[in-house]
Every structure is written in structure tokens, then in C-alpha cells.
């Protein structure tokens, strides 16, 4: 169980990933994406990401437009790279190691299980299904249900 995370982190992450905040909250409850990302990229970078996002939204941009603005390397390359790393982290559970920043790693099995990539393909991680016996005889839920 993880501590409360800032709403802006979830709003930003939702805009970057295309998944709803509710889905991200469920993932965050099991795997602390917020704290691990902060540990890997620093509190300053994370605060800057959230502030840039909030500023862009405050100027009248939609969350998607604000996310696109952050991902524009011509604006701030460092910030854009951090935003891309956050997308990868949410989708794959993979992030640079604090011990060796040149190495990518998955902090725990919970990050692997909660990675959004499984939901994006309407599936589940190997050996970690929440489905009941015989689920394979019925079609998966609609993609919109996974978002």
C-alpha cells in the first residue's frame, strides 16, 4: 500500500500514457511508480515536470496538448527525456537504476505486473492473471475497458 501521491502526477501520467487516472491509481496502489520515479530522476525534475504540465493546462491547453508540449524536445530536452522515461516506466515497469543510471531495471515483480503494456494489448502478464478458470473461452473485454 502506497502513500498518497499528488493529483498532478496522476493527471500528467494519464495525459502521457492515455490511460485513465483510475487505472493509474490502481497500479500505484501496488507499485509505487511515483516514489521510484522521484528516486531515479530526482525531486526537482519531477516537480519541474508537474509544474510545466500545470502551467500549460493553466494557459488553456488540454491535458493532451500540455503533455505534447512537455514531450517537445525543442522546448526542453532534459524534461522531454524525463517525460518519455515516465511513459516507459508506466508501460513496462522499467526505469534506470539509482545505483547505476546506465542500467535499466524493473524494481519489483509488482512493477512488471502493473505495467500498462499488458492492458494495452488486452492481456495479462505471464503467470499473473486475475481471471478465473476457463476465461480463455471468452473474448477479452473491450480495449476501452482496459484504459
Amino acid at each position: 500500500m502506497n502513500a498518497h501521491v499528488p493529483d498532478t502526477f496522476l493527471t500528467l501520467s494519464s495525459a502521457l500514457t492515455g490511460f485513465t487516472e483510475e487505472t493509474l491509481i490502481f497500479a500505484q496502489q501496488t507499485a509505487d511508480f511515483y516514489a521510484v520515479f522521484e528516486g531515479a530522476y530526482g525531486a526537482d525534475t519531477l516537480a519541474q515536470l508537474m509544474q510545466s504540465f500545470q502551467s500549460a493546462v493553466g494557459e488553456g491547453n488540454s491535458p493532451q496538448q500540455a503533455a505534447a508540449h512537455i514531450l517537445d524536445e525543442t522546448q526542453d530536452k532534459t524534461l522531454a527525456e524525463a517525460a518519455r522515461a515516465l511513459i516507459v516506466f508506466w508501460y513496462l515497469g522499467q526505469i534506470k537504476s539509482t545505483a547505476d543510471p546506465t542500467v535499466l531495471h524493473i524494481p519489483s515483480a509488482n512493477f512488471f505486473k502493473q505495467g500498462l503494456t499488458w492492458r494495452a494489448i488486452q492481456a495479462h502478464p505471464p503467470a499473473a492473471s486475475t481471471q478465473q478458470f476457463g476465461y480463455w473461452t471468452t473474448p477479452p473485454a473491450a480495449l476501452s475497458d482496459f484504459l
Binding site: M1, E22, I25, F26, Q29, T30, S108, A109, N110, F112, K113, R119, Q122, A127, A128, T130, Q131, Q132, F133, G134, Y135, P140, A141, A142, D145, F146
Partner: protein, 435 residues
């Protein structure tokens, strides 16, 4: 704090009203500060936001614990003229319920009627009773291949207390669950095959006025170093089916699971309680307090004594030199839960400072946050993991699919003769009678 969102069934004693904590109650209720102690089971939790409110679920758990442990009157109903713990300890409502082994009959047999006296094994008749044992705890289940037996934990081995004795387990269920099983003949393989879907009542139904409820209790033999006045106690026959021996023992309740199916929670609401003397938190091991399942001196010995490790097996309580299980709580109890524990423990101690019920704590409540999520039949349980140190000792932690999750584990329960889901109970996974 308010429980106005917790609807009460009133089915048990004909009381039907939403009770707000701290407001005036009725005769038979103990009012202390802002907590009401009442003998009726809460019916459900009405989610206060899209994914529920953990505080509400923890209050629901405590209300259930109080109701189930209310002094029992006639016919297994709560005695509304008594208050829980007014005499320190009391016999309880749930202890009159049916046990799993009573429904797991042999081929051609039918389960006994509701609350029929439990059959005492013949060998126990030769035992000199201490003061008229009220229960019979069986050492070995005759049903093999079970997820849990009466000394083994779910998907794991036995727990051995600091006196070297096995912890014993019981599984019981309420009359609604009993009626559903019996009327659908789910105690037979034929009945399990005939029913199209096993779907226990979640509220008022032809089977009764409440939802199905199942409880699991863990007991230890009270012995050296234990203070019986701190425990809910049952004098019991402890029957070893394999050896055909029987002893009369004083048992203390050390763990208690409650699982109730409600309209808002088709994946059931799972509450788990423990005695406060069970084991220390992982971050607080330097203590001289007496624990039932932990000795600081043992862990000081190094590699021969590790926390939460299975004991030597086969365990022989009569053999000296063996190391009991050293239990440590891996995850600290959530702050919200701790606060609600203090409220209810205070209310129970206000009734009687020596109430044994004030010596129990809620470890947590697991509930489905999104019960009808088409992508997850488990309903996105929260918290993701939950373990009782006496019942999931060896499955504590946060590792997907192997660490303890009530809903995660029980969602895989299937009938003993097919892959048909049994609606979160493993009792029907042990049926062997043909018809």
C-alpha cells in the same frame, strides 16, 4: 467518523435502522465516545467515492467482529440483554455455526440439521474433560488434497507456537450459507454438477435475510507464559484423527477471518483480526514483551532461527530441541486501521476493562474497489495484499500471486469435480460424496 453509509440488515434481532456513531442508541447497546457496540451484523458498505473509503470498510469489519462475538443467547441468536465482554469473556454467536467438516459428508449421507450438536469422536469419550468442552478441534482432516487442513495453513505448512504446540484452525459458516449449500445439494458431486452457477446470497434471499458469511478461526493451546484472562477461551477436545487420540485443552483465540458477501461486494468483504500478543512488527523486534509466536532470544541466535520460516517437519510437539516458528509482522498495520482499532478497543474496554475483546486488533479489510470491472473479475482488491500472522504466516509480503491476497486466492476456488467457480469458498473444493 460516521457509519451512516453502512446499512444494517437488522435481520438477526429485528432491528432495522441506520446507526450513526455517537448518536443515541437503544437498549442493549453500549455507547462509548463515538463508537456503538451492537449485536447486529452490518449489511453492506455504500461506497463514498468511485473506489470506496477504506475507513468505512474497517468500521464495517469491526461492527462485524463485535456482532459475531456478541454473547450468544437461545438458538444461536445474540443475547440482546447482554453486552459483549461485560463479564470479560463470553461464548459467541459464530461458535454455534456449522463447521466445514459437518457439511463434507460421506457418500449417501446428508449434513446434520442446522446447529445440530457436533458429534464427538468416540475416543474423546475417554477423556477427562476440564469443564465440559464446548468444541472439538480435529487435528487432521479426513479430506485430502485440501488447500487448508486443520493444522496446515492455506498453501503452506503448520504454525508452531512458542510452547511447541500446533495452532489449530476452524472454518465455519452462517445459516444462509448452510441453507444455500443444503438446498442445492452442493455437498455432493452431483449437486455441484447440476447447478449452473454457484452464487451465494449477498443479502435478503429465500435462504435468509443476510448475506453469506464464512469465518475462519485460529486457536492456540494456552500454556506456559500465556495469560488465559487475555484471550477468548474455549475448552475443547483436540482430536488427532491419524493417531486416534484426544485431549481436553484450553484454547485461546489468536486469529479470526470474516468473509461476507454483500450486494456491493460480489467478491466478498474480507476482514482479519488478531490477538495483540501474537507477534511484533518487523521494525519493532527489540522487545521483552511475551508473544505467543515470537521470542527475541531466538532470533538473536542467528541463522538457526529465522523469521516466518516453516518449522521442521514432521513436527513432533513431544520432542525437545526443535525451534518453534518465529513470527514477525512484515507489513505495519495501516494508519487508518490503527486509528479505528483504538476507537473500538476503547469502547470494548469501557464496557469492562478486563474485556478480552479489547485485546484483538483489525489487521485490515480487503474489498473490491471496482466490483464489476470487466477486465478484472477480482474487482481490483484493496489493499492488494493482506495477511494474518497466524493464518498466512508464511505468505506475508508483496510478491504477485504468491503473497497473501484474500480475493486473489479465493477467486481461484473451484468445485472438487470441475473447474466451476465456487464463489470464493474452498469448502466446496473438498466435496467427495457422489450424491
Amino acid at each position: 467518523m460516521s457509519i451512516s453509509r453502512v446499512a444494517r440488515s437488522g435481520a438477526t434481532i429485528g432491528f432495522c435502522a441506520a446507526v450513526t456513531l455517537g448518536l443515541s442508541g437503544r437498549d442493549g447497546l453500549a455507547q462509548t465516545n463515538d463508537v456503538s457496540l451492537a449485536p447486529d451484523m452490518p449489511a453492506d458498505v455504500i461506497a463514498g467515492n468511485p473506489i470506496g473509503n477504506y475507513e468505512d470498510y474497517n468500521i464495517y469489519s469491526w461492527l462485524s467482529f463485535v456482532a459475531l462475538n456478541w454473547p450468544v443467547g437461545e438458538n444461536g441468536q445474540p443475547d440482546v440483554n447482554s453486552i459483549i465482554g461485560q463479564n470479560g469473556d463470553n461464548s459467541t454467536v459464530w461458535e454455534t455455526w456449522m463447521e466445514d467438516y459437518q457439511i463434507l459428508v460421506e457418500d449417501g449421507e446428508v449434513p446434520p440439521t442446522w446447529q445440530a450438536p457436533r458429534a464427538v469422536p468416540p475416543v474423546c469419550g475417554n477423556t477427562k474433560a476440564q469443564s465440559g468442552p464446548s468444541r472439538t478441534i480435529r487435528h487432521v482432516s479426513s479430506k485430502t488434497g485440501a488447500v487448508v487442513s486443520l493444522t496446515n495453513q492455506a498453501d503452506a505448512g503448520p504454525l508452531i507456537d512458542q510452547n511447541g504446540n500446533y495452532v489449530r484452525y476452524e472454518i465455519l459458516f452462517n445459516e444462509i450459507m448452510y441453507n444455500y449449500i443444503v438446498q442445492n445439494k452442493l455437498y455432493t458431486l452431483a449437486g455441484l454438477s447440476d447447478i449452473s452457477e454457484i452464487n451465494f446470497p449477498a443479502g435478503a434471499s429465500p435462504f435468509g435475510n443476510e448475506g453469506a458469511t464464512e469465518v475462519k478461526a485460529s486457536w492456540k493451546i494456552l500454556g506456559k507464559g500465556d495469560d488465559p484472562s487475555r484471550f477468548h477461551v474455549a475448552t475443547s477436545y483436540v482430536y488427532d484423527q491419524a493417531e486416534n487420540t484426544c485431549a481436553s485443552e484450553m484454547l485461546g483465540l489468536v486469529g479470526f477471518h470474516i468473509a461476507t458477501k454483500t450486494n456491493s461486494a460480489p467478491q466478498w468483504i474480507w476482514s482479519t483480526f488478531e490477538h495483540i500478543d501474537n507477534a511484533p512488527d518487523k521494525g519493532n523486534l527489540n522487545t521483552n514483551k511475551h508473544y505467543s509466536f515470537y521470542s527475541s532470544g531466538c532470533l538473536d541466535n542467528g541463522s538457526t532461527c529465522k523469521a516466518n520460516q516453516l518449522p521442521e517437519m514432521p513436527w513432533n510437539p513431544t520432542q525437545s530441541g526443535q525451534t518453534p516458528v518465529q513470527v514477525v509482522r512484515e507489513a505495519q498495520i495501516n494508519g487508518t486501521t490503527t486509528r479505528i482499532n483504538a476507537h473500538f478497543q476503547g469502547a470494548l474496554k469501557a464496557v469492562n476493562p478486563h474485556s478480552v475483546w479489547g485485546n484483538y486488533i483489525l489487521v485490515g479489510t480487503q474489498y473490491p474497489q471496482k466490483p464489476s470491472d470487466p477486465t478484472d473479475p477480482q474487482g481490483r482488491p484493496f489493499p492488494p495484499y493482506l495477511a494474518n500472522t497466524t493464518m498466512e504466516t508464511f505468505l506475508q509480503g508483496e510478491v504477485p500471486t504468491s503473497s497473501s491476497s484474500c480475493i486473489g486466492c479465493h477467486s481461484g476456488a473451484t468445485a472438487s469435480n470441475s473447474g466451476k467457480p465456487t464463489d470464493f469458498t474452498f469448502i466446496l473444493s473438498r466435496v467427495t460424496a457422489k450424491d
